[in-house]
């Protein structure tokens, strides 16, 4: 059985090996960018059905951000929405025959979690200022500094492992059932995997919101922590 922790190289560009998940990721980026450009070109005040559907998605993202982070959603919609749409499409790309979801490989998840890790620091410093952001690490008491620093890394790690474990195990289970039971039997499991992919994309986006919201803090009372923490 092939190890899920190893990826094969498709071809190399100079010294850089290009693997299959990278190719799928590029394809997804191209598809999303082309669709977004096409949707942006035909914007109008009387929306077409496609534009209305996209506006529903954007307004759902906005309302989730305002409810979870309790701040104005404008600076975060692009990041959170892009994360959600990309992970959703990446998880659902397993429905196309011959394509394995890039999120089933730990490198893609590590890149996504690294984006969240850097965004937390960026927004925390931009909203609070560097010193006030550093002070949040000593928030309940000074004794919590090591734990808060460790937590910053462990929650990034758990973001990686959660997405990787869910998507990869779904792929694995479908493969095992297919090899044991044969054609058409794993179809319910594939449907379940689509559901899991959607839930994991949602959870990744919500956790990114929670982490950024924790770093940004409520504007009225910056000392109080809010939301859910790991």
């Amino acid at each position: 059985m092939r190890s899920p922790l190893v990826v094969e190289t498709v071809f190399t560009v100079g010294p850089v090996p290009i693997t299959e998940p990278v190719l799928v990721t590029w394809g997804l980026i191209a598809v999303v960018a082309l669709l977004a450009a096409a949707a942006k070109r035909s914007l109008s005040l009387r929306p077409s059905p496609a534009q209305a559907a996209l506006e529903v998605v954007v307004s759902i993202v906005q309302s989730h951000i305002t409810e979870t982070m309790r701040v104005a959603s404008a600076p975060y919609v692009a990041l959170i929405g892009t994360l959600f749409i990309f992970i959703l499409l990446a998880n659902w790309s397993s429905a196309i025959p011959g394509i394995e979801p890039p999120t089933a490989y730990i490198e893609t998840d590590a890149a996504l979690a690294l984006i969240v890790f850097l965004a937390v620091i960026f927004y925390g410093i931009r909203v609070r200022g560097p010193l006030a952001y550093l002070r949040t690490f000593a928030e309940p008491t000074l004794l919590m500094v090591p734990l808060n620093i460790i937590e910053t890394f462990t929650r990034t790690f758990s973001l990686i492992v959660r997405l990787f474990g869910n998507v990869m195990s779904g792929m694995f289970i479908v493969g095992i059932v297919l090899s044991l039971a044969g054609l058409l039997v794993p179809i319910p499991l594939m449907a379940l995997e689509l559901l899991i992919g959607a839930v994991q994309a949602y959870i990744f986006a919500v956790l990114a919101m929670v982490f950024i919201g924790h770093a940004v803090g409520e504007p009225g009372k910056p000392k109080r922590s809010q939301g859910i923490m790991t």
């Binding site: 989730h64 959660r162 990787f164 869910n166 195990s169 919500v206 956790l207 929670v210």
Partner: protein, 81 residues
Amino acid sequence: MNWLEIVSVIAAAIAVSFGAIGPALAEGRAVAAAMDAIARQPEAAGTISRTLFVGLAMIETMAIYCLVIALLVLFANPFLR
């Protein structure tokens, strides 16, 4: 197949099976509590279910950790070089 590989397979099975017990019980309790809360306060269903999803993801991470450990034991075992 030497004894180290046999022990690795058994250890992976034990890690996943016992590691799944705790998160399974915890997820059951969390969902039951959320159902209770939604039944009492249906108007708060949106907030409760969002928090429930995030909480379930947190709990589920423990089981996923066990799965990753099992995969490491099976596919990236440092003693089986």
